[in-house]
Symmetry: C2
Subunit: 363 residues, 2 copies
């Protein structure tokens, strides 16, 4: 038996009780008609949270990083250009994954803690109109910055696709895949969707589906080839690809059910409210919120520690004495800052109260 | 709520009760010291079932197919030669995945239903001694054939690595990674290990680890790069890579615990006994066991249907009326045969009795 933590790091978060309960349902075979119906209903729920009518919407059997790689590997061919917005760790990871699948990468930087400039991304594209895609992280998990996506809808009028990382945003703040002209979007289940990790929701526009279909070379990854996953989950008859886990999909389905029962606007409002409360209170304890005001995510707060607090030691006390996990800092906050998540089931006043009550004894 | 099936297909199988119970344990963060200790203990249990002392032994966050791809992508560089034994669907998949990561592939065939000839594989290697690896499926899930691996230990004296697929064998029949000179081996959790799907156990020899370390080009997959997974799970300090699921790892750990408590010899004997009973009884019902006698797996039986039985219809009655899943045939058995698994928790007399009792009403 292991410990029971209040998970206030950058994810995983504690899942909704409904998502936990669903984990113990009887296992279904990966080609059972009931399982494929469960996948189809999960995809329908995902369309609602993604704000899309995309036919190709499915759960990839892996974590958010697998969703990222499934999109990049399926959309990019060797030698093609990817323009990537980079203002944190996950923008850098997009570059790394794109390079590994053989693409050329042009990074458009903004400082960590500040938002990307959509105009700079559009400029880069207009100077390289043959670029296959522009890739951007919506919610930078490393810094707590919210990047602005709506202006990038202008890419719809070009031949360049828009790829969006919503790992930390989906279910926490509004995501509007269709109205923002997003061509491919991936997320993860263990953050604002309130389920365990292990599944990456992915949605792909019809024009991006055509690009995948018209590829010259097969996708370097068999496991993460979105056209094979499409033929499995939505083929008629379904074409065997891998042994998807009914255990995880049932849990994600149940978590999404709980979220949609509450309603997206209410869920967003709940995340906004608790995040603002935390961000207002942290400076009173000597913390300095890292992300630029006006561009902060409510669900993920990166903050510099008060002077004199030893990072690893304080997190250990928090974990072992109080049973609370927070995340270590990344990049400029390595060893000097924390990342605090209030996501999904943990986007509750109770979580903020618990954390704030514990802080004084650490400082 | 969905149906409760007796899963007698090629996997998933119904997990051990201990593995189901563990799914609802509190979620742990992916960098929590307790989680990393759980991973380490899971790796230790995996070493026992793999029959290895390999340091690099870990659970890949994906299904068996991800394990296959993690090994091929990490071990092969573009242009290198892979010699692949092919006597069924999963041998063909090895070729496909190896080609996608950029390797050249030389297939060494045997007919579906018959075992590979180890001498033919060794011959192929001696004629192409610069081949990076020889890859073989131990238990062909498509045909129920057991391939002989021990003679391939001779590859130890060459520069060619031995890669072994134990997706359907691990925990069901003896696997001896070290004494067979296997350099890389992957499996899956939803078959004879008695846990849900979603995790691929992988083990890699020290000489294969050196090959990965000495690569000229990075692995095309970030998500499935075994050196990054090693740095995450066994690094000091652990280096963040992806958000591994404590939910799944807890379940696999518990399933392995149950298996090792019973003891590997007893578990193998249990699989052997029920498989022999099924294979002795099937001909009495008009089925013809597909794999060559003397090379049959007890845990997975492919069999031709009796004349006059309509495959999909009979499987539907079995599923809907009796609550039993069996698998469709593949290759030469498509539409004319079934694959019946007796794996892990379902390697029980009860399962054989239930299935055999249902058969007469289908025929």
């Amino acid at each position: 038996m292991h410990s029971d933590r209040l998970l206030l790091g950058p994810g995983p978060s504690n899942p909704y009780p409904e998502a936990v309960e669903a984990l113990s349902r009887p296992v279904l075979g990966h080609l059972d008609p009931e399982f494929l119906a469960l996948v189809a209903d999960t995809a329908q729920r995902l369309r609602t949270v993604f704000g899309t009518r995309n036919r190709l919407t499915l759960p990839v059997s892996g974590t958010g990083s697998a969703g990222m790689e499934a999109c990049l590997a399926s959309l990019l061919e060797p030698g093609e250009l990817a323009i990537v917005g980079v203002n944190g760790y996950f923008g850098e990871r997009l570059c790394e994954v794109a390079r590994r699948v053989g693409a050329r990468v042009q990074a458009v930087h903004a400082p960590w803690g500040r938002p990307l400039d959509p105009e700079a991304l559009l400029d880069a594209q207009s100077r390289a109109p043959s670029a296959r895609l522009v890739a951007v992280v919506h919610a930078e998990t490393s810094t707590g910055v919210r990047n602005q996506i709506a202006p990038l809808a202008a890419l719809r009028d070009t031949d360049t696709l828009l790829l969006l990382d919503t790992v930390t945003s989906l279910g926490g703040i509004p995501v509007e895949v269709d109205s923002w002209g997003v061509d491919a979007c991936y997320s993860a289940t263990q953050k604002c969707l309130g389920a365990p990790s292990g599944v990456a929701p992915v949605t792909v526009s019809d024009r991006a589906v055509r690009r995948i279909r018209d590829r010259e070379r097969p996708v370097c990854s068999f496991y993460q080839d979105l056209s094979l996953l499409d033929a499995y989950y939505q083929g008629d008859p379904p074409r065997y690809h891998h042994t998807a886990s009914s255990t995880l999909i049932s849990s994600v389905h149940a978590g999404l059910g709980r979220l949609l029962e509450e309603g997206l606007p209410a869920v967003w409002e709940r995340h906004a409210r608790v995040g603002e409360r935390l961000q207002a209170a942290l400076p009173e304890h000597g913390f300095e919120v890292f992300a630029e005001p006006g561009h902060r995510l409510p669900q993920l707060t990166a903050a510099r520690l008060p002077a004199g607090v030893v990072d690893a030691e304080a997190r250990k006390v928090l974990r072992e004495h109080f049973g609370i996990e927070v995340g270590a800092g990344l990049g400029p906050l390595t060893g000097t800052g924390w990342r605090i998540g209030l996501m999904g089931h943990n986007a509750q006043n109770r979580a903020v109260t618990t954390l704030l009550s514990a802080l004084p004894s650490l400082l």
